[in-house]
Amino acid sequence: MRVTYEPAARPVPETPAVQVRDLRMSYGSTEVLRGVDFDVHYGEVFCLLGPNGAGKTTTLEILEGFRPPTGGTVRVLGLNPAAQAARLRERVGMVLQECGFPRQARVAELIDIWRSYYPHPRPLAELLDVVELAEVRNTQVRKLSGGQRRRLDFALALAGDPDLVFLDEPTTGFDPEARRRCWAAIENLRRLGATIMLTTHYLDEAERLADRIAILREGRIELVGTTREVATRAGLATRISFNTPAALRRGQVALPDGIGLAVRGQLSVCHTGNVAVTLRRLLDWALENRLGDLDGLAVTAPSLEDSYIQLTGAIDAGGP
């Protein structure tokens, strides 16, 4: 469902919504975060992507003011979360992992009391719409499905009309339909103008939702940027492919020089860092050998999945 409410007028100060510099965290002698730096800008969806145990939740808990860091500086909406947690709570919505509800409360009743905790709450009807729970508004929370409970999480996090929303692994363990509806709810959240920072170990989730991605691995940020930038900076080549022409398959035509073209049965494939030059050479070669326009010619940008697997090792790469 598309929500068409006017986004709230939000101040967009010069400073980032979240600023993390040289963040360090140790539990005893175990170093969980080893100098993490990133910014989250107002109005964007920022995703902290990484395998389990990379330090995503720890980073989020520090930003939420639940843990003081061992070292480094952190500013959230210009505030120091460890020292100014109370002021932060009024302007930040949080969806934590494994947070339950009072079992006997009803959906609308619970959202409504949550609204009373905040100085400038969003209207109840709007919250129910955003998370698509209007039809179960009078249902007791214990009777909701997992996906509905997660969307209720969103509604509670949004009740105070926050400037910033933290989502910790919002769709872990959900079936595809529940994930799809969660994503729709998150896209509705962003349409309301909130800045969103989420963690996930699902690539498709990061690719689908995020404007920018930071890959966190073993307590360090490996890469930050847009999906495209992350993929490019991981040093991955663009892939060019086309249907292998009959003449080439029969060996009547020699392979072109210098572009590393490989014939894999029906498909011919090469990888390149310079798409224009490679394409020109390929098409010239096709012209010379009267192969026509190269049937099924496709240029594929490197995907986030490729870069993620390259960076973290295929074994770490989670996914549904």
């Binding site: 709570r89 949080m94 947070c99 339950g100 509800f101 949550w114 009373s116 905790y117 996090a157 105070g160």
Partner: protein, 251 residues
């Protein structure tokens, strides 16, 4: 300050609505004590305490009053808070700007309301069924005893919640930690006695018998229960210290 009070009142109303929606809480808190009142009360009709003109039911009804207060304040609040902590509801509250005092105040206010309701039911049924009624000049002592009893056992309820780690064990543990003491304190049997000396001392040390005796003072003439009041006061203070030391918002 007024905002915190308003928020606490709202929280208390939501808790009350939730309480009455939940068969297990409402049933255990109300049906269990009232059933005991009627069954054991009926068995004591026409009997007198040995060597006196005091009817058994006159001390049995305030004993069940004490039992009701303990179930409502200690068992209910203790297991409820343990479940809220186990389910992560307390942690979720910490993500909001709601002051902790307003939230706990709401839980406590709802507990007080439940305890007053069960006391009223016990008192009225005890009067209608067995003719046991407080002495007119014992009413003040009775009211004071109820207030102190609710405060004491609600504090101990918060304390026991801090040592319960799973939702499944919350109710059973809360009951198991006081029912044996209630039995050897003679709450269910006015003529109960003959305990070994050391066990008598132990019963005197716990707050169950103390509350029962303070409330019995509202029904029959008894010496001023200075020791019993001191007992309840000490347990309240000890419970409060334990809560301050061990209470956590998440597991």
């Amino acid at each position: 300050m007024t905002r915190a009070v308003r928020l606490a009142a709202r929280q208390a109303l939501l808790e009350q609505r939730s309480f009455w929606r939940s068969a297990e809480y409402a049933l255990f808190t109300f049906v269990f004590p009232l059933m005991i009142l009627l069954l054991i009360g009926a068995a004591n009709v026409g009997s007198y305490l040995p060597g006196s003109h005091v009817k058994n039911t006159t001390v049995f009804v305030p004993g069940i009053l004490a039992f009701g207060v303990i179930v409502a304040a200690y068992v209910n609040l203790g297991s409820k808070v343990a479940v809220l902590r186990h389910d992560g509801v307390l942690k979720r509250i910490k993500t909001t700007p709601l002051p902790s005092a307003a939230y706990l105040g709401g839980l406590l206010a709802s507990t007080v309301l439940t305890a007053i309701l069960i006391s009223a039911c016990t008192g009225v049924i005890g009067w209608l069924a067995f003719g046991a009624s407080p002495r007119p000049d014992g009413l003040l002592a009775l009211a004071a005893g109820l207030v102190l009893g609710i405060v004491c056992f609600a504090t101990l309820g918060l304390a026991i919640s801090a040592v319960i780690t799973t939702a499944e064990s919350a109710g059973p543990l809360a009951y198991a930690s006081f029912l044996p003491i209630a039995i050897i304190s003679g709450v269910f049997d006015p003529t109960f006695g003959g305990l070994p000396h050391w066990m008598e001392r132990m019963v005197d040390a716990f707050p169950v018998k103390a509350l029962a005796q303070v409330l019995q003072g509202g029904y029959t003439v008894r010496p001023f229960p200075a020791l019993d009041l001191a007992n309840l006061g000490l347990w309240t203070v000890a419970g409060a210290f334990f809560v301050a030391w061990r209470f956590r918002w998440h597991t």
